[in-house]
Amino acid sequence: MNLLQMKQITKTYNANKVLDQVSLSIKEGEIHGLVGENGAGKSTLMNILFGMPVIHSTGGFEGEILINGEPFTPHSPKAAMDMGIGMVHQEFMLIPGFTVTENVKLNREKTKPSFLSRIFGRRLEQLDKRTMAEDTKIALDKLNMTIDEYARVAGLPVGHMQFIEIAREVDKDTLKLLILDEPTAVLTESESTQFLAVARRLADMGISILFISHRLDEIKQITDSITILRDGELVKTVDTNQIEIVDIARLMVGREIKIAREDHKDQKVAAEPILELKGFKVNMPGEKVRGIDLQVRKGEILGIGGLAGHGKLGIANGIMGLYEASGTIIKDNNELPLNNPRKALAASIAFLSEDRRGVGLLLDDSIGFNIVFSSLELQDKFTTHVGPIRLIDNDAVKEHAEKMIEALDIRCTSYRQKVRYLSGGNQQKVCVARALTLEPDLLLVSEPTRGIDIGAKKLVLDTLVNLNREFNMTIIITSSELGELRQIADRIAIIYNGQVSGILPYDASDEEFGLLMTGKKLGELNKAVN
């Protein structure tokens, strides 16, 4: 018997059909994978099932949903929750100022009678903090996580936040179906492994899981069956053991995708450094850098890896002056003033932040404006003089934006569309386009492929390699995905506890990377290059 059946689901946003007669069903205790390119409609399908307000404020949907054979109309998240459906959204929905327990228990607080409540009724009962904390601990234990239940969410590493979101769902005793929208996008590989084990365990406890991910190896590894979407249409539903990863990718994208390292023939790496860090420290919460000495050669692609919370993300943020830094930065033999974003940008350094929706985008502005703004502000491009003032040149914006949309395959209705309405992956591409528009000679990219599909991932990585080869642009790429670093970087620096624990060539062995990531020395294996 199927726990959930979604039949012939169709959804339009402003006359733009994003789901067309999609059907999907899940059995009890099954892990079902949902894959598709950015903008294929995965999150939309899940938002429908979970009764998200955005669906109803945009005209609802067509089709039928059955739970245990009974028709069910999810008109609000509350209704879905009452049916035993839980959802962890693609974007975080935690309240930073609250503690872990408060977040897990939000809106479902346990209470005990108080003096006032005896007179005025249940709403005035006291919070039973002790029981709530205990429940939270039990939920976190189920996930094999040890996080202080009383810690505030604000300072925690993103990986932890993801587990807290899941704990919140697991804590509901009625949970029957858990929707996970790209839960592993923000996790490092080891965290993902732990996470996948947890998902398996939940499934064994009888909870069905709908799992969305762009990491196809995870999909292959953990799911029982898979639904593949392309451009809002159902391509295929198959049992996982009947299909190979390459075929999933091909069905998703509609063409052959090959992700492999290409030869580095025409690369010009100079001997002199373009950037040098000395005793560099950055005070970024959750990603502290505690004193780094590093040289980046002109023309190379340097990878920066390491586990979450060890400071790899702090480096680029510190260089750009976004978090308080100390020490010395030398760019092209000149000392770069610290904590001054404008000076860093003026020194021809561009930054693609890992915080896409915060630092990276103006959600309520058009794609075009997002793409050109940095260049307009810093380089006076895309402007025309009218008398003494500089006005934005809309024709130039349109022309450039359309070029970028095509080059990066940004799926949108026009360059005027608001960025808020793009799917997560396409938003990421807009950020990439903006950084590229600056034509910097040093490009810092953090987690550039987080949450983007495999076709787009290839596109972004290829673009980075091209920039490096054709324009001799130096690139520092920070990523939680070692595989991605090994695919395009020449050398990879591993950060442990805020310091460089070693630098390896891209073809070093997994064991060597593993040792450095856990802060051990390479010992006699020492093959480190400099």
């Binding site: 630092v359 703004f373 500089r390």
Partner: protein, 343 residues
């Protein structure tokens, strides 16, 4: 149909329908329509710049400027100086504006600095600052050394009058400039042109590099910082512009009204301006010129058309009550919407 509804917005739709209803009533009650229309145009022109003052404030991220009285007082001072030195007509208008400009810039700068210390509570604090300044100025109006007999109390006392007639000075200079009549409706050409001119300046600024930086600072602080924009400076810029527009706005208002109103009068300027731009479709994060035009037009038409009808139908000061209900109601409604999105 649903789409159109969503575009217009429920609140605006209700107001438009109510306005239509009032117009029908006006026809039935034989209220002379040309006079109504003339009145609407004048009220639009005299209020629109004060509403326009909200635009740079919202764009720079300080939200709706409830501290409009600050700029208004600068404008009043400019007008007082112009009268004190006996300037009349266009010269008087120009002198009033030129004198008020530096005052508005300096006070806007100071106020902007203050707002940077209390980020997130600009609107509440703005209201209080407005009250304080108006109270403080009530003392100053008594002791400022103006001497023109047009300005100070006639019976030997010292201090400025509560209302000062502009008849001999800059009354109606804009309203009457190139004014003409069609079908009984008087078109206050100069007044409308001046608003168009000011609005064009604000629009151009919004499309300029400086203006874009200010808007980006207002819409996403982190993004702005990462692009090397000094967010605090941009917010001060927005505050200054808003204050300057308020100063210019009250001078235009006063020349149409025919009087300068001192003491507590500036207190009551912010609420209608805020209400108008919200009716026009602005939100706490987003405000455009079109919102100013639509909002001022709707809001002022409502008041103008309601007045004679209510006077015919009911006794007493009901018109004032309607105005208060509409403006405060719409503000409350806007503020309760999640995140202050457009009404």
């Amino acid at each position: 149909m649903k789409n159109i509804m969503a575009k217009i917005g429920l609140a605006r739709l209700i107001i438009v329908l109510f306005l239509l209803f009032l117009l029908v009533m006006a026809v039935i009650l034989e209220v002379p329509l040309p006079a109504l229309f003339s009145n609407i145009l004048v009220r639009f022109g005299m209020n629109a710049i004060l509403v326009l003052a909200m635009v740079p404030a919202v764009q720079s991220g300080i939200g709706l400027n409830f501290n409009l009285p600050l700029g208004i007082i600068c404008g009043l001072l400019g007008a007082l100086v112009s009268i004190e030195f006996n300037f009349t007509g266009f010269t008087g208008l120009l002198v009033a504006m030129l004198v008020s400009l530096p005052l508005a810039i300096v006070s806007g700068y100071g106020y902007g600095h203050m707002l940077n210390r209390i980020k997130g509570q600009e609107m509440t604090v703005g209201t209080y600052v407005g009250f304080s300044i108006v109270s403080l100025m009530s003392i100053f109006w008594q002791i400022l050394p103006f001497t023109s007999t047009a300005l100070i109390w006639a019976y030997g006392g010292s201090g400025l009058r509560v209302t000062i007639s502009l008849d001999a000075y800059l009354s109606h200079v804009l309203n009457d400039f190139l004014a003409f009549e069609i079908a009984g409706t008087v078109i206050p050409t100069g007044l409308l042109l001046f608003f168009a001119f000011t609005a064009t300046l604000v629009w151009l600024f919004g499309k300029s590099k400086r203006g874009l930086a200010m808007q980006v600072a207002g819409s996403n602080e982190k993004f702005a910082l990462a692009n090397g924009i000094n967010v605090d400076k941009e917010r001060i810029m927005g505050t200054i512009l808003s204050t300057v527009l308020a100063a210019v706005g009250i001078i235009v208002y006063s020349q149409a009204f025919g009087f300068l109103q001192l003491y507590t009068a500036p207190l009551y300027a912010a609420i209608p301006a805020v209400a108008a731009i919200l009716i026009g479709g602005a939100s706490l994060q987003r405000a455009k010129i079109i919102h100013v035009v639509i909002g001022t037009m709707l809001f002022q038409s409502l008041l103008v058309v309601a007045l004679p009808i209510i006077n015919i139908m009911a006794e007493g000061n009901l018109a004032e009550v309607v105005r208060a209900i509409v403006s405060n109601g719409i503000i409350l409604y806007a503020l309760t919407r999640t995140g202050g999105e457009a009404v």
